[in-house]
Amino acid sequence: MTTKDMAKITINLVVIYVLGGLLLAFVYAKTSPIMFVKAKEEKEAALKTMMPEADKIEHLGDWEPHHKHAGYYAAKKGDEEIGYIVEGFGKGYSSYINLLVSVDKNFTVQKINVLHHAETPGLGDEIEKDYFQKQFAGKTLDTLVVIKGDTPDKIQAISGATISSRAVTEDGVKNGVKMLMEKLSGGQEKKEEGGHGVKEGEIEEHKEGHGETEGKENEHGSHS
């Protein structure tokens, strides 16, 4: 191979790669802001549906259930705090169940919403269903207990999926509410320093995993 050939090949490669790189950089510059905005909007919309009567949702702080990153928020109507929303994780049958819980000012559960999970199709994945989630309205720490069979005031387990039902109820939701109570009760009038000035526009963006492939990094589940 002569020097001339070498030079030609090199130029060839460099030109293509530089062109391609530039093109991609251009596309990236155009699409990535949209992606971030959309992701943020999604998150806000998800929080909003947890407490539809609120007109503002404020980020109060973060906590780490199962060594995963999750946030908690205050829902406000005008200047008045009408409730709180917390993101939680429950250790389920084959995945960590990511969910949102909204509570009123007395820490009574209003609503829950399962965001992501990989529980067994046909059994555990019924935690997504309304009939299961509706049971949570009006529950408090004492009544967040899973019962097999009919129950008027507790949570009835999905038949054949007790582990997933428990993960949602006694791990995800209960621990979320507990954490909120510890952090917030008694101090409701106080302005949270950490949360001050953090408006919804600054809600932190979570890095999206790849769908159902695997959960986010976590320590081994030493919890029972």
Partner: protein, 195 residues
């Protein structure tokens, strides 16, 4: 370093989320080379080795070059480039150092570059934010899982050679059905580890 977690990652990647049976990657190779046991074994060894080395190499490049420079959007191009370069140099080195080994495994190297399973490992590692040792563990687990799948499949297909399979199902279709049945059996591992 948390050995328990690394062990879980290996088990999860090889058995529970087996690349072939639950993630459906590497299917072309899986169906392509399992006609013979010998090729399957060769492929398994080569793949596992390349997978682990490429996981390590790509992790370093991603962490120390791409993230600081904020060019993670080029990761597909960079990863595939690194793998191609790795395979090419492995080819050259092997030819020089151990012609016998090259004679045995060299032909599989050429097939590796355009294989999704090799590329998937660094992509998943970066997507999951694994640290260096976790990335290595994931690479090892994935490689072992793929090797297991190849070897099981090869032994079953050898047995099927003599079977009176209806003509339209001979070859690939029956192999897909075998893979489905193996996937059915592998479901038994689900729930072993919560990820």
């Amino acid at each position: 370093m948390d050995f328990n977690k690394l062990f879980q990652l290996i088990v999860a990647a090889s058995l529970i989320n087996n690349f072939v049976f639950t993630r459906f990657l590497g299917l072309c190779i899986f169906f392509g080379v399992t006609k013979k046991m010998e090729t399957s074994v060769g492929m398994s060894i080569t793949f596992t080795a390349v997978m682990v080395i490429s996981a390590a190499l790509n992790w370093v490049i991603y962490k120390f070059i791409m993230v600081p420079m904020d060019i993670t959007f080029l990761k597909i191009i960079v990863f595939i480039g690194v793998i191609a370069a790795l395979v090419q140099s492995a080819d050259t080195i092997m030819k020089k150092l151990s012609p016998a080994l090259y004679y045995k495994l060299g032909i599989y190297l050429a097939l590796i570059t355009t294989n999704c399973i090799i590329l998937a490992v660094p992509l998943i590692n970066s997507g999951e934010n694994y640290n260096f040792f976790e990335s290595m563990a994931f690479g090892v687990g994935s490689g072992l899982g793929f090797a297991l799948a190849l070897i099981i499949m090869a032994s079953i297909r050898e047995k099927l050679e003599l079977a009176d399979i209806p003509a339209p199902f001979r070859g690939l279709p029956i192999s897909f059905i075998v893979a489905g049945l193996i996937a059915l059996a592998f479901t038994g591992f689900s729930g072993l580890i919560t990820l």
